[in-house]
């Protein structure tokens, strides 16, 4: 670029110089020509004047030499001037140079001659002037001389006078015979010398003067002649001619140069036109480029935050994006230093480095945190580009930035997030496919140390396999590992796409211990440390499975201690407990490792003999019986001997269920008891009928059957309001029919149902049938006068989602209004499942159902529980009601319960109202409802509401 520029300048100068040269050559300096011509003439004139003045001097028109001298000076000067003027011509023309130098020679020659002329003329003049005096002096000296005769004097005088005359004629130009004059002079001198002797000064002087006059006269004329002969004029003419010739040549050249100038100008003009055209196209290209650049700049401005600063950081340009992000206007930023957006995020070293980089002409890139006008910080990825001048120094900086605040924030967030695994107090590791540890946090140190590995080394082989397994199955797996005193749960999470496994450890030491102890507690009897009924049933289930599937044979022993009640009754529980413990330990010693001894309750024990036939079982049972018989409890210096009734049953592929097996063993045990105690009985199906009646187990097995056969009946008993403003309620009661249709009271089957977890099934049956009844009743009675029914629910039912869902679904049908249904729950049931009970109550109360707390006063009877149970009715336990007439404490209980209930805005119901006296007392106390045989005996629901409820009440009343 620079070379091109230099070239253009050079060409421009060349063109200019050429044009100027041509122009100057084409010019004819008329002034110069005029001067030269004038000088030639002046010189000619001065020379003429010189000649003239010489002639004038010669003819003594001028007495001094001033004019000659002046003329000489003038010719000198005019010749010098002429030479000066002609110098440009002389420089290149040798002819003129020679002519001029010849002219100078002639001039010099002439000057010399003039000089000599002046000398001669001066002498001539002076001698001439004095000549008459000299004659006079001579004549005077002749006349005054006494020594000589008069004749001689006269002769000399005459001669002298004659010479005087001749001299005058000579001086006047009439006499030219110089020889004659000299001769006359020498004659006079000779004669005078003869007359006066040698020392006559006057004659000497005269003759000398005469000689001088003649000599100088001669010289004078000679010089004048020579001066005339110096042909300056002719030489000047030659100079003039040569000059004219040169001038004409120059004139012609000038015309040529003029033509050349014209041509050159035309060429230049054409070139300029060409350049102009090219410039036009360049400018259109430039325009295009400019548009392009503008577009690019617009694109840059749209994308990036752009600013330009000078070397000191003063802003000279900012784009809109810069304004947007910094919140300043353009006017606020221009002329300001870039520091205006500086934040305190970076230290001075950071900026120092940045400036160092750009000041040395390098591009700087980095991320800067800046501060906007409102003080908020923003991050920009910045590129600073210095613009360099010709000297290689930066003179401005262009900053291009993109807003990375969000990225930066998320980066920081990610960084913080990335610390999660590191900061995790539990071990976190990442292991690749090959079993190499890629990452492990501080907490993982315990594992790393345990495995004796480091980062980037391999975990032990057994765990490598685990890693492989996890990756192949692509499923999270868990393993427990015991590291010293600690237990860890290791969760292996495969990240199959990255081919590594994340390992999360969890310290489960505490949990493990708690779990161990819990499972121990759950599975063992607290007193004896033996397996409890729950665990035993599980074992039994396993045994049953193995028997049915693998055709194995096992034996179950059911042991009931005889005479245990005596120990308990006579020595108390502590003794009984002690007995149980000691006996348990003893019994354990005789069983095989795989056998299980369990305490099933009270003084009942169970033994499971795995892989054992009847014979073997008999043997062991006998051994056991013997052991118990041998045992003596020493208590308070008393000895107690006990016995045991053992029922034995075989578990084989034909065994039906655990319940069945247990029932059979129980029956066998009863049979042994019946047979006179301290015996072993093997179950025999023929024995079963006799024992059936006595066993809860019987009921338990009957209930599911009765449910499926609908051998239950819904009864109802009126709850009569003692206050006339209230409506009567009816409590639903249940009774079971046996296979023969005999009525079985709840007191018989309910405990069995509770023991065998059948209550929720019974409750479900009741609820379903109550709703069925109500739905039918509502249909038959045109949806009017639906009775208010109270349904008993067990604690088990309150945890049943299914039941709740069913009840809600029934209400949603819309036939039975929730207001008509009250649920009765016992205090014990509510509290043992407190949270679930609260949930259950709330969710139904929400709809509109009401709740009654049953048997209040007999159980835990805690008013504080009452406070947190949102019930609507309190049913005062019938025990207090029954005795309230005779027992003032019972009366007080009834009264206080009633009062508390009322204070809590709960309605009270008294049970077991068996006579009018009680009813009157209750009315007096202000109890809201009464229920009992005095008011109404339970009757079948269907029958009760065959007629209207109101009629019934009237009948009672």
């Amino acid at each position: 670029m620079n070379i091109k520029k230099t070239f253009h300048i050079f060409v421009g100068i060349l063109a200019g110089a050429t044009l100027y040269t041509l122009y100057s050559y084409s010019l004819i300096d008329q002034q110069q020509h005029f001067d030269i011509t004038k000088n030639i003439l002046t010189f000619k004139e001065n020379d003429l004047i010189l000649n003239q003045s010489i002639i004038q001097n010669q003819t003594e028109l001028h007495k001094n030499f001033d004019k000659i001298s002046l003329s000489q000076k003038n010719t000198d000067a005019s010749l010098a001037r002429l030479n000066e003027k002609l110098r440009p011509y002389i420089a290149y023309d040798s002819t003129l140079e020679n002519d001029m130098s010849h002219l100078f020679t002639l001039h010099h020659e002439k000057n010399l001659l003039v000089s000599h002329y002046k000398r001669s003329a001066a002498l001539n003049k002076f001698t001439k002037q004095y000549l008459p005096n000299a004659f006079n002096e001579l004549i005077t000296s002749i006349n005054i001389s006494d020594d000589i005769d008069t004749a001689s004097k006269r002769l000399l005088s005459i001669k002298t006078n004659k010479l005087n005359i001749e001299m005058n004629r000579y001086i006047a130009g009439y006499q030219h015979d110089e020889l004659k004059l000299k001769k006359m002079s020498s004659t006079i001198q000779q004669q005078a010398t003869e007359l006066f002797g040698e020392d006559t000064r006057s004659i000497m002087l005269l003759s000398r003067y005469i000689v001088k006059v003649i000599e100088t006269n001669h010289q004078k004329h000679m010089f004048v002649e020579q001066i005339q002969n110096v042909n300056i004029n002719e030489q000047l003419h030659a100079v003039q001619q040569q000059y004219t010739f040169l001038f004409n040549n120059k004139n012609q050249d000038a015309i040529k140069y003029k033509n050349l100038l014209f041509t050159a100008s035309m060429v230049l003009l054409i070139y300029l036109l060409f350049v102009f055209t090219r410039l036009q196209s360049t400018s259109s290209n430039l325009k295009e480029t400019l548009t392009d650049l503008k577009f690019r700049r617009m694109a840059l401005d749209k994308h990036a935050i752009v600013s330009i600063t000078d070397v000191t950081g003063n802003i000279t340009y900012v784009n809109q994006k810069f304004c947007d992000i910094s919140q300043y206007t353009q006017a606020e930023l221009l002329e300001q230093n870039h520091r205006i957006v500086k934040s305190d995020y970076h230290d001075s070293h950071f900026y120092k480095e940045m400036w160092k980089t750009i000041a040395s002409g390098n591009i700087w890139q980095g991320e800067i945190c800046n501060r906007a006008k409102d003080g908020t910080a923003y991050w920009v990825a910045t590129t600073l580009i210095p613009r360099i001048n010709d000297k290689g120094k930066p003179y401005e900086y262009i900053g291009i930035r993109t807003n990375i605040t969000e990225q930066k924030n998320s980066e920081l967030e990610i960084k913080a997030l990335a610390r999660f695994p590191i900061e995790n107090p539990e071990p976190v590791m990442r292991i690749d496919k090959s079993g190499k540890v890629i990452f492990s946090n501080d907490a993982a140190k315990i594992l790393v140390d345990y495995w004796n590995i480091k980062k980037y080394t391999y975990i032990p082989d057994e765990w490598k396999q685990k890693i492989n397994d996890v990756l192949i199955k692509n499923k999270t797996q868990e393993s427990e590992i015991c590291v010293g005193a600690y237990d860890y749960l290791l969760t292996f999470t495969p990240v199959s796409e990255s081919n590594y496994v994340n390992l999360y450890g969890r310290d489960i030491t505490e949990k493990k211990r708690a779990e161990d102890s819990l499972s121990y507690q759950a599975n063992h009897d607290q007193l004896t440390g033996l397996v409890n009924r729950y665990a035993f049933e599980r074992e039994l289930k396993n045994a049953l499975t193995s028997a049915t599937r693998n055709d194995k044979q096992h034996i179950l022993l059911y042991i009931d201690l005889d005479q245990f009640k005596i120990v308990n009754d006579t020595c108390g529980h502590v003794a009984g407990d002690e007995l149980l413990c000691q006996l348990s330990n003893m019994m354990l010693s005789i069983f095989r490792e795989n056998d299980t001894l369990a305490r099933l309750g009270g003084d009942e024990f169970g033994v499971l003999l795995l892989n054992c036939n009847l014979e073997m079982g008999k043997k062991i049972a006998k051994k056991l019986l013997h052991l118990v018989n041998q045992y003596r409890l020493i208590w308070n210096k008393q000895q107690f001997k006990i016995g045991a009734s053992i029922g034995m049953v075989e578990i084989n592929k034909d065994s039906d269920s655990i319940v069945g097996i247990l029932g059979k063993a129980d029956i066998a045990c009863y049979a042994a008891k019946d047979a006179g105690r301290n015996q072993i009985k093997i179950y025999d199906s023929s024995d079963s009928d006799s024992a059936q009646r006595h066993s809860e187990l019987q009921w338990a097995s009957q209930i599911p059957k009765a449910l499926s056969e609908n051998r239950f009946q819904l009864m109802v008993q009126t709850i009569l309001p003692l206050n006339n403003n209230l409506e009567p309620h009816y409590e639903i009661l249940l009774r079971m029919l046996d296979q023969n249709g005999n009525i079985i009271s709840p007191g018989s089957f309910i405990p069995a149902a509770e023991r065998y977890n059948l209550m929720s099934a019974i409750d479900h049956w009741v609820v379903v049938h109550v709703f069925e009844f109500l739905n039918t009743y509502a249909e038959n009675n045109n949806h009017k006068n639906l009775p208010n029914l109270a349904i008993n629910l067990s604690g088990e039912s309150m945890g049943s989602e299914e039941l709740l869902a069913y009840i809600r679904a029934q209400f949603e049908i819309g036939i039975v209004p929730p207001e008509n249904i009250c649920f009765e729950i016992t205090e014990t049931a509510a509290i043992s499942n407190f949270n679930k009970a609260i949930c259950f109550i709330n969710s139904l109360k929400e709809i509109g159902c009401s709740f009654a707390l049953d048997d209040f006063g007999s159980g835990l009877s805690s008013f504080s529980y009452l406070k947190s149970l949102p019930v609507d009715y309190l049913k005062i336990d019938g025990v207090f009601v029954k005795g309230m007439i005779d027992d003032p404490i019972d009366a007080a209980m009834v009264n206080s319960i009633n009062e508390v209930g009322h204070i809590m805005k709960i309605k009270t119901i008294a049970e077991f109202v068996e006579n009018a006296e009680i009813m009157n007392a209750l009315t007096t106390l202000g109890v809201d409802y009464a229920q009992g045989y005095h008011i109404d005996k339970p009757m079948l629901l269907a029958e009760k509401f065959a007629t209207t409820a109101t009629e019934k009440i009237k009948q009672v009343g």
């Binding site: 000076k73 002076f126 002087l205």
Partner: protein, 299 residues
């Protein structure tokens, strides 16, 4: 002689400054060191001091009326004043300067560059320096001498003795050479028209000077030829002749008469002529020129 000449006063002032400028030589002497124009335009010495401080062998001619002299120096060079300045400056015995050094020295003085730039389009140059000095020298004229006034018609301007002297001046032919506006200075003459005052030429430096114009032309006719000096201010510019050999003006007159006219003149005539010559003493800037040379009763 003109009472005044038309000059450029600024240029003359610059010339005068240069005339008194010691930096024109390389040894701290100026033109005015020898040509003291506050007095008679000369140094009053028999022969000039040369630059080394020794004695030169020629008398310093007065600078007054030099502009009216067609011929310069004792040898009567046909030169312009400018040319003569060149010669004096270059002369090893006189100023011993060279132009490069002189111009460098002057250029260091901003007052010169300023003045030259005012007067000349091309500023401080060799020619302009010479031109300025010459211009000043041309103003060194001494008009209004008693004789000038006498010639203009003031018959009382000069004494009777002086009138008598003038007559003798003419009678003896002195006027043949000492003529014109400057009473001489415009021609050459051989010293010793009839008999030579010079002893045998022994080729000493002094003898060589006595050869006069011969030194320049090598022409036999120019042996002992000198310029006829101007007689203006002659009474105050003793001592006389090229060698400064004669201090007394009347003696100089007698010397002239003896060798130039070939005649003994009486002391009385010589004194009268000398009296007349005193009437040629003019005025510079309105003041009569006075001699710096202390000769008893010479005037």
């Amino acid at each position: 002689i003109p009472n005044s000449i038309v000059v450029n006063p600024n240029l003359v002032a610059l010339g005068e400054k240069l005339f008194n400028e010691p930096r024109m030589s390389n040894n701290n002497i100026s033109c005015a060191s020898c040509h003291n124009y506050n007095l008679a335009g000369s140094d009053g010495l028999k022969t000039s001091k040369n630059i080394q401080g020794g004695n030169d062998l020629m008398n310093t001619p007065t600078i007054f009326n030099v502009g009216l002299n067609p011929l310069l120096t004792w040898f009567g060079r046909n030169l312009t004043l400018e040319e003569q300045i060149d010669k004096v400056l270059a002369n090893k015995k006189h100023m011993d300067g060279n132009w490069v050094d002189i111009l460098n020295r002057l250029k260091k003085d901003s007052s010169y560059t300023k003045l030259f730039n005012q007067e000349f389009s091309d500023g401080l140059t060799r020619n302009n320096v010479k031109h300025a000095i010459a211009s000043f020298e041309r103003t060194l004229i001494t008009p209004d001498s008693p004789f000038d006034n006498y010639l203009r018609g003031d018959t009382k301007a000069i004494s009777n003795n002086q009138i008598e002297g003038f007559k003798l001046f003419k009678l003896y032919g002195c006027i043949s050479c000492h003529q014109g506006i400057n009473v001489g200075g415009n021609l050459h003459a051989k010293l010793g028209t009839f008999t030579s005052p010079f002893k045998k030429d022994n080729n000493t430096e002094k003898s060589r000077f006595n050869r006069g114009l011969f030194n320049l032309t090598n022409d036999e006719r120019d042996l002992h030829v000198f310029r006829v000096p101007s007689l203006r201010n002659v009474a105050v510019t003793a001592p006389y002749f090229h060698s400064g050999a004669i201090k007394d003006l009347s003696k100089a007159v007698k010397f002239m008469a003896k060798y130039q006219t070939g005649r003994q003149i009486s002391d009385n005539d010589a004194q009268l002529i000398a009296d007349f010559l005193a009437s040629l003493t003019g005025q510079y800037q309105g003041k009569t020129i006075i001699s710096q040379y202390d000769t008893k009763g010479s005037l």
